[in-house]
Symmetry: C2
Subunit: 368 residues, 2 copies
């Protein structure tokens, strides 16, 4: 393929971003990075039509000849390929990228990838966009507005590089949060992968009933809600299920156990137990609703840290573990580069908690 | 309690309706019957506050002293009490109601009730409103607009009385459809009760994860959809679960079997089987979506029938079994009352199918 012309050469001080894989997510990262962060975006895709479309839509400034060409000079790179070729592409990208390039991905599962790609330049990532569409043609600069973007730094991840990635994601409109890769996959098994499995199963069961009774059940909203995601894109979801099989099986076993308990209550006609079980679900549902509502003003915390790999990740993970939302962060190295100050902006009433958590890690912390 | 004054005495030719149990459904039936059918509505509730509120809101014309008083002179009566006292109230109402009163209910399960209350005046009913609120204060004349309203006539149900009920429900804005009580409960187990169970279980499992990991999973739309109905009103749902325990257990067993199959595919890392399973769900989902879309113009069919109990129910059940929607119906007896003509209005392209089904029952049928 002939190299496409650069629609907007990068000036001095302009951040250079590479995107490998130009689908909905890759295209949207490009659009948001250009529109929100004024970045210069190089893109590459094995499908030349996707690359041409991304250029035509203005999702990228430059169409690269290959992966290495796309990564040339990049300070931040995203691998946004399908899950099936993700690990290989991340490995190739790590081999081709410069020493000062932070590399992330957007895959839906993180454990296998994070373990396979331990490199101080790599930070696993997973934006929760909930988009039902696919393809670079549906890309939008606003796709990540307000969206949680999980990051799974390893213990060796460079603090400088992590901070660069975090800042860029915030400027894209997202809300990055650090999380251990194993925890991420366990949570996703419960809140995303298992719900998709249940939707598929319920859909099949209802379709089977129609076949046997020859009658369409007029369905209420509970069924429509429960099956809305049934039969989601097979290529994508086969790979998600396979790459998180271990945690998903654990989730299924736990679910089966709970289902068996309800079956027993029904078999026994135990109204008191059923009422108690339903009340628990009511309480749990309210807790989940309440826990999802963050708000209030933002507080700034300055944390003094030694400038060694893993420090920023350590802080981000500690706060993530307590569900403290880091609205934004910056890292300012000292002149001799031996230490630095991490400045964190924390949402609302969580700042006191964040301060205590960081202090417990033995880093000096002050409120600005 | 003092009998409340009649806000609008019934004139000649005005249909008299009784409502026993004044909650959201009972109140809405009253409002719709007054506004849409010009009916005179008597109401009764064991809670005097509900009765006063229903009068104040204009949901009923007259507050009755007791069940017998409410039923006095009624041509149509609805029992709209909680499921827990439904059967007893229907039995009491059948004992108190006149010979020419059709009596129905609005309970969410039908098998036990229909078997217990075999009477030519009784037709089990279940409107699917999907309302999330409760209480007479939330009543609305438009609650049933376009809503499926299942009817479960017994083999001995009077055709004249069934037709009267059907016509009234259509005038309330609903879409009545006859269905066998057993089939109704089996379908509801799959499309309503099981989804509620799954929502409760998933909610509890996610809440448990937060407890153990101390971290809030940022949830995507699949989880929100799958758990939206979790912890629905305990009093109502305990009774629904108990009254449909048999079919719900069967649904759970079928679901467990299907869940086990997926678990095995995951354990084997069988990508082809997972892809195939997901594609099936995709096809099933599309089938369900398509089957739910009825439309087109309405055709009129005239059916000559002997005037004996069960005939109208037989026709309605046969059409319901094939998912043919009866938009409206009337029954015109011959002068000597020995036979009659049932006129059916059938939605869109279903009229030919309806004609064939009725002809197969050996009733002369013609298209008007």
């Amino acid at each position: 393929m002939t190299q496409a012309p650069d629609t907007q050469p990068a000036g001095r001080g302009t951040q250079r971003i590479a995107i490998l894989g130009l689908g909905l997510i890759g295209g949207s990262i490009g659009m948001a990075a250009k529109a929100r962060a004024g970045a210069h975006v190089s893109g590459y895709d094995t499908d030349p039509r996707a690359l041409e479309q991304a250029l035509a839509l203005g999702a990228i400034d430059r169409g690269a000849e290959d992966l290495k060409d796309a990564l040339s000079g990049a300070e931040v790179a995203f691998v946004a390929t399908p899950l099936g070729v993700l690990e290989r592409t991340v490995q190739d990208a790590l081999a081709a990228a410069g020493e000062d390039c932070v590399l992330s991905d957007v895959g839906s599962t993180k454990r296998m990838l994070t373990h396979a790609c331990a490199d101080q330049r790599f930070v696993g990532g997973h934006p929760l966009t909930g988009a039902q569409t696919a393809g670079v043609g549906n890309s939008s600069a606003g796709l990540f507005d307000g969206a949680r973007w999980y990051l799974t730094p390893g213990t060796g991840t460079s603090g400088v590089l992590y901070e660069r990635l975090h800042r860029l994601l915030v400027s894209l409109g997202a809300q990055p949060m650090a999380i251990e890769a194993d925890t991420h996959d366990r949570l996703m098994a419960c809140v995303s992968h298992l719900p998709h499995v249940l939707a598929n199963l319920l859909t099949g069961q209802a379709a089977g009933l129609i076949d046997s009774d020859g009658q369409l059940p007029s369905v209420g909203p509970s069924f429509r809600d429960a099956t809305r995601v049934a039969g989601a894109n097979t290529g994508i979801w086969r790979d998600i299920y396979l790459s998180n099989a271990q945690e998903l099986i654990a989730g299924i076993d736990e679910f089966s156990r709970r289902l068996g308990e309800v079956r027993e209550m029904l078999e026994n006609g135990d109204g008191a137990a059923i009422a108690d079980w339903n009340e628990h679900a009511r309480t749990d549902h309210r807790s989940l609703l309440e826990a999802g509502l963050l708000g209030g003003p933002v507080s700034q915390l300055d944390v003094s840290v030694p400038n060694r790999p893993g420090v920023v990740a350590e802080i981000a993970l500690e706060l993530g573990r307590s569900a403290v939302n880091i609205v934004d962060m910056t890292l300012s190295p000292s002149p001799d580069n031996s230490q630095g100050v991490v400045t964190l902006w924390i949402a609302g009433e969580q700042s006191q908690r964040a301060r205590e958590l960081i202090a417990a890690l033995d880093f000096p912390v002050s409120r600005a």
